[in-house]
C-alpha cells in the first residue's frame, strides 16, 4: 500500500471517530451546563447597555434573546419548575433590543403574567412589558388587547381592562373584537362567555404555537366548567323531580333532561358520582379546569397542553 493511501485511510478513520466523539462530548457538556448560558448572559442584565454593546446588530441579538426566552420557559415548564426568574429580564432585553417584536409582548401576556405553574406569576412585570410595547408601537391593537387580557384574567381589574380595550378600539386599524371587548368589560366582566371570547380571539389571532396551545387548553377548561355546572344543575333538577339522585346519565336522558351521554371537549364521557357531582375522567388532559376535578386529585407539576396542528 502506498504511504499516501495509508495516510488517507488513517486520517479518514480518525476523522469519523473524532467527529462522532465530538458530538457525544458536546452532548455531555450540554448536560453539564444546563442553564449556564442563560445565567451567564444575564451578567449583563441592563437591556440599554446590551443595545449599545450590540453595535447596531440589535435585531439579530433580539432574535437570539427571544429564542433564549422561549427555551428558558419551555425547559423550566417541562421540568416542573416553579421559578421563572429569568423570563421577565429575558423578555425585557428582547423587546429593548427590538421594540417591534410583537410576539415577545404576546408571550409575556400569556406566560409571564399567569400564576404558576401555567406561567411565571408576574403580572406587574407583564404589564410593564406590554406598556413598553404600546409606547413603542402605539398603533398596534394587539398590544392593547394583551394589556386588557392581563388586567382581565390575571389581575381581575375590569376597569383597567375596559380602558385598555377601549383605547385599542380607537385605533384606525383596530380589530372588530376590541369595541366588543370594551363593552363586555363594562357590562358582563367575569362571566364565562367573555372569557371564552377572549381565549377564542387569542387563538385566532396568534401565530405562536405555544400561545395557541395555551388558548386551546383554556377554551377546553371553560367548556368543562360550563358543562359540569349545567350537568350538576340537571342532577339537582332530577332530584327535585324524583326525590332521589340519578345513578347514571341515562336516568337524566330517560327523564328528558338530557339528550345523549355528555362528553368533555376531548371526547371522554363525564362521570356522574353517587353524590350527584360530575367529574372528568382524565383531569391530567384538562389543565386549568376549576370544576369537575375528582376528589383528592393532585394535578401534575407540568400542565399538559394539547398539541396544536
Amino acid at each position: 500500500m502506498k504511504p499516501s493511501r495509508r495516510v488517507t485511510i488513517v486520517a479518514s478513520t480518525l476523522l469519523v471517530i473524532c467527529l462522532t466523539a465530538s458530538v457525544l462530548l458536546l452532548r455531555t457538556i450540554d448536560r453539564e451546563r444546563t442553564g449556564a448560558t442563560l445565567e451567564e448572559v444575564l451578567y449583563v442584565s441592563s437591556p440599554t447597555l446590551l443595545k449599545r454593546m450590540s453595535l447596531g446588530y440589535d435585531g439579530l441579538l433580539a432574535d437570539v434573546y427571544w429564542t433564549r426566552a422561549v427555551q428558558y420557559f419551555g425547559d423550566k415548564l417541562n421540568r416542573g419548575s416553579e421559578h421563572f426568574d429569568l423570563l421577565a429580564p429575558l423578555l425585557e432585553i428582547t423587546t429593548t433590543l427590538d421594540p417591534h417584536l410583537m410576539v415577545a409582548y404576546e408571550y409575556g401576556a400569556n406566560f409571564l403574567a399567569p400564576e404558576i405553574p401555567g406561567g411565571a406569576g408576574q403580572p406587574e412585570r407583564a404589564i410593564k412589558l406590554v406598556e413598553f410595547g404600546i409606547r413603542n408601537n402605539p398603533n398596534v391593537w394587539r398590544l392593547y388587547y394583551d394589556l386588557g387580557f392581563i388586567y382581565y384574567f390575571d389581575l381581575e381589574d375590569y376597569d383597567k381592562a375596559e380602558k385598555a380595550f377601549a383605547d385599542g378600539a380607537k385605533l384606525p386599524n383596530t380589530h372588530q373584537i376590541m369595541p366588543l371587548m370594551a363593552a363586555k368589560m363594562a357590562e358582563h366582566a367575569g362571566n364565562i362567555d367573555t372569557a371564552r371570547l377572549m381565549w377564542m380571539t387569542t387563538f385566532q389571532t396568534t401565530r405562536d404555537p405555544n400561545v395557541k396551545s395555551n388558548a386551546v387548553a383554556h377554551l377546553n377548561a371553560l367548556q368543562v366548567d360550563q358543562d359540569v355546572t349545567i350537568l350538576e344543575r340537571l342532577t339537582s333538577k332530577y332530584r327535585e323531580k324524583t326525590g332521589h339522585l340519578p345513578q347514571t346519565f341515562s336516568d337524566l336522558e330517560a327523564a328528558n333532561l338530557l339528550r345523549g351521554i355528555p362528553v368533555d371537549p376531548l371526547g371522554h364521557t363525564y362521570k356522574l358520582m353517587p353524590d350527584g357531582r360530575v367529574e372528568v375522567r382524565v383531569p391530567d388532559d384538562l389543565p386549568f379546569i376549576v370544576k369537575g376535578i375528582p376528589v383528592g386529585y393532585i394535578p401534575p407539576r407540568i400542565p399538559k397542553l394539547p398539541p396544536v396542528n
Partner: protein, 258 residues
C-alpha cells in the same frame, strides 16, 4: 511525536517570533497597565471584575486574531516562497508538515498566552493588593482560552490547506463567531421540525462550540468551574482540533502542488 514534526514545529515557532508576533504583548501590557490604573481610580468595588473581564477578553481576542492570521499563512506562505518544495523533497511526509505547523503555532500561542496571563495577574494584584483563592478559576478560564486557540488554529490550517489566505481568514472568523453562538444555534434547531430540525441540529453539532469554552463572566463573578466540565472541554477541544487536522491532512495529501 516524530523528530520531523518537532523540527517543523520549532521552526514554525521561531518564524512566528521572527515575524514579531510576540510584539502584541507590548500592546497588551499597555492595555492592562492602563486599565488597571484607570479602574483603580474610577471603579467602586468592581475593580477585580473589570480587570478579569477585560484581561481575559483581551487574551482571548489577541490570541484568536494571531491564530487566524498566522494560521492561514502557514501553508500558503510556504508555497509562495517555494520553501514547501524544499521541505517535502526531504523525507518529510505531508501530514507531518501539517501536524508540525499546528504544534508550532499552538506553541507560539501558549507562550503568548502565558505572558499575557502574567499581565492579567499583575494587574489583578495592582488593583486589589492581594490574591485570593478564587483567582485560581482565572487560570481555568485561561486554560479554556488556550483550548479555543487549539481549535481555531486547526481550523485556520484546514482552510489554508485548500483556500486563499483572505478567504481562509473570512471562513475562520465566521466559524469563530458562529461557534460563539453554538448553544443558541442548537436552541434554534430545537425549535424547528422535520428535516429542517435534523439539518439544523447536524449543522449546530458540526460547528465548534466556543460558548462552553468561555467562562470569563462566571470566573469574574468568582464562580467555580466544575471539574467534569474541565475534563469534557479538554476532551472536546482535542477531539475537535483532531477533526480539523484530519480534514487538513486529507486535503493537503491530495493537493496538487505543481
Amino acid at each position: 511525536m516524530s523528530g520531523r514534526i518537532v523540527y517543523i514545529a520549532s521552526n514554525t515557532f521561531r518564524e512566528a517570533v521572527r515575524d514579531r508576533v510576540l510584539y502584541n504583548l507590548i500592546a497588551f501590557a499597555l492595555l492592562m497597565s492602563g486599565a488597571a490604573i484607570l479602574v483603580g481610580q474610577i471603579s467602586i468595588g468592581i475593580e477585580r471584575l473589570v480587570v478579569i473581564n477585560l484581561g481575559l477578553t483581551a487574551v482571548s481576542l489577541f490570541g484568536i486574531v494571531i491564530a487566524i492570521f498566522i494560521g492561514i499563512g502557514l501553508v500558503s506562505k510556504e508555497i509562495d516562497r517555494k520553501t514547501l518544495y524544499t521541505v517535502l523533497s526531504r523525507p518529510v511526509q505531508r501530514w507531518e508538515f501539517i501536524v508540525g505547523k499546528f504544534f508550532g503555532l499552538a506553541g507560539t500561542l501558549i507562550v503568548n498566552a502565558f505572558f499575557m496571563a502574567l499581565g492579567v495577574f499583575a494587574a489583578l494584584f495592582y488593583v486589589s493588593r492581594h490574591f485570593q483563592a478564587t483567582d485560581g478559576w482565572v487560570l481555568v478560564a485561561l486554560y479554556f482560552i488556550i483550548l479555543q486557540f487549539l481549535i481555531i488554529t486547526s481550523l485556520a490550517l484546514l482552510f489554508s490547506s485548500f483556500s486563499s489566505p483572505l478567504l481562509s481568514a473570512v471562513f475562520a472568523f465566521a466559524l469563530f463567531i458562529i461557534g460563539t453562538f453554538a448553544e443558541d444555534l442548537r436552541g434554534f434547531a430545537s425549535l424547528t421540525k422535520g428535516i429542517v430540525r435534523w439539518l439544523a441540529t447536524a449543522a449546530a453539532y458540526l460547528v465548534p462550540n466556543f460558548s462552553a469554552l468561555n467562562v470569563i463572566s462566571s470566573v469574574a463573578h468568582e464562580q467555580p468551574v466544575a471539574r467534569q466540565l474541565i475534563i469534557s472541554n479538554t476532551a472536546y477541544a482535542l477531539v475537535y482540533a483532531s477533526v480539523a487536522l484530519c480534514g487538513a491532512v486529507l486535503i493537503f495529501e491530495r493537493r496538487n502542488l505543481k
